[in-house]
């Protein structure tokens, strides 16, 4: 019982400083479009934290604000701070943030299509200076045995294999924190299962902390320790993964499980949604 109670609230206020702390950030694109309005979240060392929300809520923007890639899209953090290992990292060039140990697996995989699998993996280790790159490539192949047989260009891999390569490339950088943007995008349900099993394995076996952005709330909460739900640029609800998975509102809006047995009219549903909007 005591253990279960503890798990419900793993981020106690008095706990050790989190690996990543996003503090009340505001993000503006092109100097006019306000996307994040005072977003805060914490990612403790060694956990998987899920960031859920509907389309356009600002999930990907949050990740880009952390990794610094916002700059490449003409976005800017206008208020608040991003702290990693106790140091402020907003405003730093994205390539330097990678060197500090944050690696983003971008939405849509973004593997380099005109290179081979091996070249993609070697590029993942670009920031490293040690000579263990070879053994790390071997480890990626152990995680994803099917990548070993693919000797052609990465652009010809299937969607699932591309996602595996994208995750493998992230492993090559030996990051402390991986930011994953929609790993389930465009994959078959079976492949989604496989990819999320790998994400859990990464976390458990290699101790990598993961901040996961997902549309597929069910599968995300199944691997995550903690979750945040955002809407219109703000966090509206957070809690342990179990707590969120059993929360009635989350079930209704993100897991597609309505309460009660009776058949619902679409009209009622819409009004219900409007009433329950968290704003």
């Amino acid at each position: 019982m005591a253990e279960a109670a503890l798990k419900l609230d793993p981020v106690a206020e008095t706990g050790p400083a989190p690996l990543l702390a996003v503090d009340n950030i505001e993000v503006v694109y092109n100097d006019v479009i306000l996307v994040l309005r005072g977003l805060s979240l914490k990612v403790p060392q060694g956990q998987i934290v899920a960031l859920l929300g509907s389309n356009g809520a600002g999930k990907s923007t949050t990740l880009k604000a952390i990794s610094g890639l916002l700059k490449t899209e003409d976005g800017e953090i206008t208020r608040g701070e991003v702290n990693f290992l106790g140091e402020k990292i907003n405003g730093i060039e994205p390539d330097k943030i990678v060197r500090r140990g944050i690696f983003q697996v971008m939405e849509g995989r973004r593997i380099i299509a005109d290179m081979t699998v091996l070249e993609n993996l070697r590029l993942g280790a670009f920031t490293r200076r040690d000579n263990e790159v070879k053994s790390d490539i071997e480890r990626v192949y152990e995680f994803f045995p099917r990548l070993r047989e693919r000797t052609g260009l990465a652009g010809y891999l299937s969607g699932g294999e591309q996602q595996m390569l994208a995750i493998g490339r992230a492993m090559m950088a030996r990051p402390k924190l991986i930011l994953m943007d929609e790993p389930s995008m465009g994959l078959s349900p079976l492949m989604v299962k496989e990819v999320f099993a790998i994400i859990k394995k990464l976390n458990v076996e290699l101790g990598v902390t993961i901040l996961l952005v997902e549309q597929n709330a069910r599968v995300a909460l199944s691997v995550a320790d903690y979750g945040y739900i955002m809407e219109q640029g703000k966090i509206v609800l957070d809690g342990s993964a179990q707590m969120l998975a059993t929360n009635e509102d989350v079930k209704e809006f993100y897991l597609g499980q309505g309460g009660g047995e009776e058949r619902k009219s679409f009209k009622n549903l819409k009004s219900f949604k409007r009433r329950k909007r968290w704003l």
Binding site: M106, D114, M115, F126
Partner: protein, 297 residues
């Protein structure tokens, strides 16, 4: 005698063609890494050649060292051009950047004339024999050296882009700057390095051509000759640039043969690469080796 002349011209074409190929690679390198069409490529040859000539004549430095210093200087020069002139233009419309390279071309051309005069200056004799016999044909020693150097540079490029970390980083940047940055690659460094390598290698070609023809502002026409070569090969293909260079070199010389033997027009040498360019682009708009993106979602 006829076939002897033809053979000689083919050999000349191949030698000049490898040089076009090398300069073409430099051109493509900049285009691939930073999407800039560099109209000042020919001036890199010119500045490199004048630098080497000046070191040799004014300071009496042995050729090897003068050559090495000139190439290193051009590396720094290329990086400086990128950092001082082109870096502030990142994010500006591509047409503005291209106009700036045209401006650089005119400026450097005039600067070189102001510093070294308008007359062609010969290099001091470098090789003990000026011409050597290859299979019964007379070949300039400098051209022989140039072919060796060109092939070495091509092999070096192939190794660099396939196996070195920085070469892979350049390819990643060419693929997508955002992806490159997400991998921890500094795009600014890649841009600067691509200009540096491009200028240094162009200087090698400039010195070689300067040894044969003398150094004058005519050298910068090489930059214009390289256009049909790279467009033939496909603007974004390094291998294509080499093949395009060889084709242009051969066409020029064969054009001269046909012209002198049969047509007697007297200018086919200059224009035939451009005719070939038009025909090939009608059949293959991406050039011979230009890539269309792999689309798979």
């Amino acid at each position: 005698m006829q076939s002897q002349l033809l053979l000689q011209l083919i050999i000349n074409g191949l030698i000049i063609g490898t040089l076009y190929g090398v300069v073409g690679m430099c051109f493509v390198l900049i285009y691939k890494a930073s999407q800039v069409v560099n109209f000042a490529q020919g001036e890199f040859l010119l500045i490199g050649a004048w630098t080497c000539w000046w070191l040799l004549t004014a300071w009496d430095i042995p050729f090897f060292w003068g050559f090495l210093i000139a190439v290193c200087f051009m590396m720094v020069f290329g990086i400086a051009v990128q950092m001082i002139i082109l870096r502030p233009l990142i994010g500006e419309p591509i047409i503005s950047v291209i106009m700036v390279t045209i401006g650089m071309s005119i400026f450097f051309q005039a600067l070189m004339k102001w510093m070294f005069g308008t007359f062609a200056q010969p290099f001091p004799p470098i090789f003990p024999v000026e011409k050597v016999d290859v299979l019964g044909l007379q070949v300039q020693t400098a051209y022989l050296m140039s072919t060796g150097v060109s092939l070495a540079i091509m092999a070096g490029f192939a190794w660099f882009f396939k196996y070195s970390k920085m070469g892979l980083a350049m390819r990643a940047t060419a693929f997508s700057q955002q992806v490159a940055q997400s991998l921890g690659i500094s795009v600014r460094q890649v841009f600067a390095l691509s200009w540096g390598i491009s200028a240094a290698v162009s200087a090698v070609a400039g010195v070689v051509v300067g040894i044969v023809n003398g150094v004058s502002s005519a050298l910068s026409y090489f930059g214009i000759k390289v256009f049909p070569a790279v467009i033939l090969g496909g603007l974004d293909s390094i291998f294509g640039a080499v093949v395009g260079g060889l084709i242009v070199g051969l066409l020029e010389n064969l054009g001269q043969y046909v012209d002198s033997q049969y047509l007697k027009w007297g200018n086919l040498y200059e224009v035939i690469p451009f005719y070939a360019l038009i025909i090939i682009l009608m059949i293959k708009p991406y050039g011979l080796f230009g890539t269309r993106d792999i689309e798979r979602v």
